[in-house]
Symmetry: C2
Subunit: 253 residues, 2 copies
């Protein structure tokens, strides 16, 4: 099972204070870029994998989604999501993405924000998601960018001109990365960008868009601290579409 | 037009001594990984964009390609390629990929090794290549990896444990990068990995495989100097397939 750091009291206390948890989607700088990748949700059955406090689930309903299933490994998260939601068309459940098995062809759209980099077996996960989607349905997800995650000591340094510079090492050495973030020993799983995309393709998805998030000039003007995000990507946004079997046959590497 | 550094005498003299120029494809560590992405070439009309001394063109003919067109911006390269080739089914021509316009539906396979990162307008290039390919045909190309190219001062440093570490800055700031490599002021064009893939998708390709080249354990055992390639990717290998219009309609971001 995936490490459930979110139910660690110290972690949960810190994490709950993040602007995106307190204020919701609009407090996440990448949200406009994510939103640009989303299909029309009107009338759709949506699943959110790693739903946290349910901000996306409630937003999807505002956009006209017929029903939203929000899943999260954290009992604390799910409890908070339920407390924040009064909508019988949103169902929240505790679920471990490492072992989850959704019903086949149950959803028109799958979403996940910043959850898949906690999962060791990405191939199993995306094959399961593909089965749970209806033909032509989309999967849009965000993860920490592998450039951000790879190094043994991922923190800013300075180059010879004094410019903020991010270290990369161990990029080809995939697997566990342990960091301290609100709690010690948070376990993430580093995969090369190519591994993530090839995993999707092998599972029967077509890659539609790959966005290495960078803030816009307007965002930087409003929040100058975001300028460092131009130096190295922290987040990867991917849009993929369920490919049908006949197309899959033609898509060997 | 693209900078033609290859016709600079000092550059050409140094470049010509690279093992891959002297000994051909097998001297390039990434060649087995590239070869794994190639379709069966028997009977096919092949174009090589940035053909250098023609090693790939001659190899493609050994694999049964019906005809190979090798194009390069460098008159010196083309002269050397012609001198090394005695095969009426291989044609070499001087051509600038920045302005090249191939005949529509003329080729069954397009190949390019380490040339596209010299090109400013990648979108124009891949739209032109798509038109020049027949339905279902593949494009396989290699470029310098954007992690390798992005930084203002791209060279090894050491992290606090003394581990070889590669700097990344300016990743989101696409455009010219000037380096000194056999000659001063070699101009390359940095694009984010997502920009390269989205350019292909927008041009009407399906992304089939994305390989961030890393040497195998056997390659490192034979050549220990390759171990540093595990720390950061130097090369990006991409396989894409010409998508037909009906499929393209469905592939908005």
């Amino acid at each position: 099972m995936a490490q459930n750091i979110y139910d660690d009291p110290a972690f949960f206390a810190g994490y709950s204070q993040l602007p995106r948890q307190v204020h919701g989607l609009a407090a996440a700088p990448e949200w406009p870029a994510v939103r640009a990748l989303l299909p029309d949700l009107a009338g759709k059955a949506v699943v959110d994998l790693g739903c946290g406090f349910g901000w996306f689930a409630r937003w999807a309903r505002e956009q006209g989604a017929a029903a939203v299933t929000g899943l999260d490994v954290s009992a604390r998260m799910i409890a908070r999501a339920k407390a924040l939601t009064e909508d019988p068309a949103i169902a929240y459940e505790i679920a471990d993405l490492e072992t989850l098995d959704l019903a086949p062809a149950a959803f028109d759209f799958a979403y996940s924000a910043l959850a898949f980099h906690y999962i060791a077996d990405f191939g199993r996960l995306v094959r399961m998601i593909r089965r749970a989607l209806r033909p032509g349905a989309r999967l849009v997800f965000t993860i920490e960018h592998p450039i951000y995650m790879a190094a043994a000591h991922p923190h800013w340094s300075r180059d010879e001109d004094g410019r903020k510079t991010w270290p990369v090492n161990g990029y080809a050495l995939e697997g566990e990365r342990r960091t301290n973030w609100f709690a010690d020993g948070v376990i993430k799983h580093h995969r090369r960008l190519g591994t993530t995309l090839n995993g999707l393709i092998a599972a029967g998805f077509t890659v539609c868009h790959v966005e290495e998030f960078a803030p816009t000039a307007a965002q930087i003007a409003e929040n100058p601290g975001l300028a460092e995000e131009l130096e190295r990507p922290m987040l990867l946004l991917v849009s993929a579409q369920r490919r049908e079997d006949s197309a899959r046959e033609g898509l060997r590497p």
